[in-house]
Amino acid sequence: MLIKRADDLKPSEITPESLYYNRREWIRMASAALGGMAFGSLVWQDTISAPCQEYKPKAKGPYDTDEKLNSYKDITTYNNYYEFGTDKSDPAENSGPFKPKPWTVAVEGHVKKPATYNLEDLIKPFKLEDRIYRMRCVEAWSMVIPWLGFPLGDLIKRLEPTSKAKYVAFETVFRPEQMVGQRRPYLRWPYVEGLRMDEAMSPLTLMATGLYGKELPNQNGAPLRLVVPWKYGYKGIKSIVKIKFVDNEPPTTWNIAAPDEYGFYSNVNPEVDHPRWSQKTERRIGEFRKRPTLMFNGYAEHVAGMYAGMDMKKNY
């Protein structure tokens, strides 16, 4: 089996529940504050016994964050995946009929051997690793997610792009019969995204095939998605069917939809507001108070060098 499964995990790898975010904690506090002490603690007793996701990454890597993980439930029920609808609950509710197997990925453009690969063949050479990353949505909320995947750079090296390749463009599958959101044109389908070559080669940039040690659920972009932790979440294109090496900056879906709101780079930057809301702070899912947003989502030491001398206000 290519993809590790949760049931492969040994009991010794299991973390105590206390390490996970539990929003019930402040909900209980809120009930108490409202004078509903008895009611609140009743609810608390009821929910705390609910099973928690048990998971532990194999070993802590250099890019992993120490912060508390968001629960599997939060990560898989609160999603922006407009192909399945625009409400956060839609992807979990509507992605049932989606078939992530079998899956092929077309590799095109300035590359030695353009070809269409079976997903298994494409990822076989790589060892899947856990990566615990912050994920910052452009809507000013964030999560901590334990991804499973391999660096995009390793894949690119194997695919051998030519010297003409300056950018990598990605495309999501177009299957309106399985993806209800694609039946309506509120975005231009299929979804497209892109990275500059150095961004794509960054050791932080991940091709994810799973989370919490399991295969990606449909609502999180099964079977293959991009994770670029220092950029806003929408750069992390899901259900990828095409990787194309190009010489010019490729079009990106949200930039096409609203060019003054979403740029090509989309680096997390507390200094550059979205026109409709501030990016200075964010709500970590599970927390009540907002926290300050960090430059490059806290990954500046690894990625800031790529943008030296660039005006981030212009290249947002």
């Binding site: 909900i27 609160y78 407009y82 309506r184 509120y186 409709r276 899912i285 108070r289």
Partner: protein, 220 residues
């Protein structure tokens, strides 16, 4: 039981309680952890949605009363309008607290800076004089004509609410546009009620004037 007593003693309390259902369900879902992973945003969205819905429902009262010729319908207008204000105030409070933690140095620049907030804020502010002048005593003191004129501000609030919604969605405008269409019909109805008699009397005048002049010309 006469109809008036039935409306006042039974129907009105029932409607009053029904209007508390959205906030009760929201509170229940909150305390039983049945909202999404981001419950505070859910509260903002739910109260905002119900503000707009109550504005729409309030705007339905007069057309329903006229079309059904059931006069007591008018008795629910104040109740429903005040609920719109109630949900609007809660909605505003969620913004002030959950979004901004009462940090005024953040809030005050935010209101003029972000068009969707500006419009939402203006819409809510315009409801304040309507809520303040909703008691029987003030209504009587103002007199029907002035009171009616003032309370037409709800038309502006309704349009503002739709624009607020339209400007805050990221890509899918179908919901705000649906509310926009409903508000357009409800305001269009008023325009029609206002214009129809004028047009009719204009036609009457034309009809009654022109034959006379013709006759007048022929007479001498």
């Amino acid at each position: 039981m006469t109809q008036t007593v039935f409306v006042r003693k039974i129907l009105k309390p029932v409607v009053f309680l029904l209007c508390l259902l959205p906030i009760s369900l929201l509170a229940y879902d909150f305390f039983t952890d049945n909202l999404s992973a981001n419950p505070l945003d859910d509260i903002t969205d739910t109260t905002g949605t119900w503000t707009l819905r109550f504005i729409v429902i309030t705007l339905c009262v007069t057309p329903v009363r006229r079309l059904t010729k059931w006069a007591p319908a008018g008795k629910f207008r104040r109740l429903l309008g005040l609920y719109a204000f109630f949900y609007g105030s809660l909605h505003f409070m969620t913004y002030l607290y959950f979004d901004k933690f009462f940090e005024w140095e953040e809030i005050l620049p935010d209101i003029p800076k972000r068009p969707f907030i500006t419009v939402g804020f203006a819409s809510l502010v315009l409801m304040i004089p309507l809520a303040l002048t909703s008691t029987d005593r003030i209504t009587k003191w103002m007199g029907g004509k002035k009171w009616n004129a003032l309370h037409r501000l709800i038309y502006v609030t309704a349009i503002g609410g739709v624009i607020h919604y339209l400007w805050l969605v990221k890509a899918d405008t179908s919901r705000p546009l649906t509310y926009g269409a409903i508000v357009a019909v409800l305001l269009g109805y008023r325009l029609w009620v206002y214009l129809a008699p004028k047009i009719a009397s204009l036609r009457m005048k034309q009809k009654s004037v022109s034959p006379q002049t013709e006759r007048g010309q022929l007479a001498p």
